[in-house]
Amino acid sequence: MPVDTKRVRGPDESQSPLVFLPPTAQTCEVLRRPGDRGKGDVRPLFARCGLVSQAKGSAYIEAGNTKIMCSVYGPRETERKDDTDMKSGRLVCDVRLAPFSCQKRGAWIQGSEERDLSLALSESMQPGVCLHRYPRSQIEVNVMVLENDGGVLAHAVTCASMALADAGIEMYDVVLGCALRQDGDSCLVDPDFSEERGSWQAGYGENQGRVTVALLPNFNQVSGLHADGEMREDTLTAAVRTCMDGCHKLYPVVQQAILRAVKRKAPPPEK
């Protein structure tokens, strides 16, 4: 390969300076969660609908430092028509992580993690939306993660449900998401980024894992379940139950935000 000797080229591969931190700084033991949060507490949620004026419906969620926005377009006519589309609509979900959202700079081209999140979001949302009411159409859900501080899939699910509700798409129930990090025998609900990743030394311990559950609270049906790591089966079962409780805790906040948006769009008649 001809080498260009006249110009001074920068390194082919650049790395974040965080890689060069001394090991002690990386493996900090999280004894107390920041903000005096208990192990079973979810982070306080800030949720608002109706952010994007051009979209049919939109929502913005902040949980700790995780910032996610979602916009919904549709129902629109589908591009492809096969047999299934004649009877029910299609939900097209797209999750993007902004390049500055994570500690390591991401690329603008959709990577495999984003495709995985999009598929997971679509599987979690489908049971909640009344797609049979929108034959031959597709509903587009676009989620943009502005800052990733843990629990991205869980909060994306909640954000997408709020956006769909804001867009007036018929749904059986709101879909809420909750994430959990299992660390040995203790579980941390709604972990932030450093808790979720854990220290790489802790990875050699037993019973390490991450669980995300998407729940329809009024029907108590689980529409999405993702777990990885290595856990015992009884730990996994307990973690799923804890996540479901976490989802129920989020419900009042989400309900209030949707009601506020509805009242603003269609204010009650003056007495």
Partner: protein, 283 residues
């Protein structure tokens, strides 16, 4: 699709092809089928055929974990398998399958990645696991995970020796003996079990027909000790929490029971050595 008889599922534990709810179809496994790879295996589960080839290359370790090697998974759904995969149709499924594999292996115990290190921070073994779908007849995840475990068992990584000369320049030397290899410990490699929910029961190893009747499935990957490394809900429907717990228990039981006969079979096949009758691709 012809209806699955629900009453027979509930009462008699009988499926259309006569299997019980927790029975697998006839499975055939053969390793060392492709000579250009460092390890390979072919699995036929009913009419599903999967071929896995593993190539080991020397690469640079990841910055956060300088004393470990790593695995890269690629799944190719070619148009050979079904006509739906023509062009870019199979790409989505391929990405889903490989993303699931990354999740399944995303823990410290499945494979000892530190054994893949040659020189910390500079050189390590990268195992490229390439999965090829030859024929699709349902239950791709299970067959794929068994094929990967068999291929990893079959993998022979050449032993390398790092020599440093007077100027401190490191050189990698491969040993002259082609049989001087390192083998991987695949005891903890998990196997995936997919459970499809049909009405009130769940079935293991669903055919395409049975899959069409189910709205939701649960994918669970289990090691031989019964530890769960990955759980995913697939499909467009929702699941009751009790169903999930039941399915997890069944999945763990079935998955745990897969490992012992599999390892026995692999070791028996290897012990036959040169006397082994190679079946190849035509059977």
């Amino acid at each position: 699709p012809p209806p699955v008889s629900l009453s027979s599922l509930h009462v008699d534990d009988l499926r259309v092809d006569g299997r019980g709810c927790e029975d697998y179809r006839h499975m055939e496994i053969e390793t060392d089928v492709v000579s250009n790879t460092d390890g390979s295996a072919k699995v036929s589960l009913g009419h599903t055929d999967i071929l896995v080839g593993i190539k080991a290359e020397i690469g640079k370790p990841r910055p956060m974990v300088p004393d470990e090697g790593y695995l890269e998974f690629f799944v190719d759904c070619s148009a050979n398998a079904t006509p739906e995969f023509e062009g870019r149709g199979g790409e989505e499924l391929g990405v889903e399958l490989s993303n699931t594999l990354y999740k399944v292996f995303n823990n410290r115990h499945s494979l000892d990645l530190r054994s893949l290190c040659i020189c910390p921070g500079e050189h390590c073994w990268v195992l490229y696991v390439d999965v090829l779908l030859l024929q699709c007849d349902g239950n791709l995840f299970d067959a794929m995970s068994i094929a990967i475990k068999a291929a990893l068992f079959n993998t022979r990584i050449p032993k390398v020796h790092i020599s440093e000369d007077e100027e401190g320049v490191k050189e990698i030397e491969l040993s002259d003996d082609p049989y001087d290899c390192m083998r991987l410990n695949v005891e903890n490699v998990p196997c995936i079990v997919t459970l499809c929910k049909i009405a009130h029961r769940h079935v293991v190893d669903a055919t395409l027909q049975e899959k069409a009747c189910s709205v939701a499935s649960l994918l669970i990957s289990v090691t031989h000790k019964g530890m769960v490394t990955c759980v995913r809900k697939l499909g467009r429907g929702s699941l009751d929490p009790d169903s999930i717990f039941e399915m997890t228990e069944t999945g763990k039981r079935v998955g745990k029971a897969l490992h012992a006969p599999l390892m026995e079979l692999l070791q028996k096949e290897e012990s036959l050595g040169k006397k082994r009758q190679k079946v190849g691709f035509l059977a």
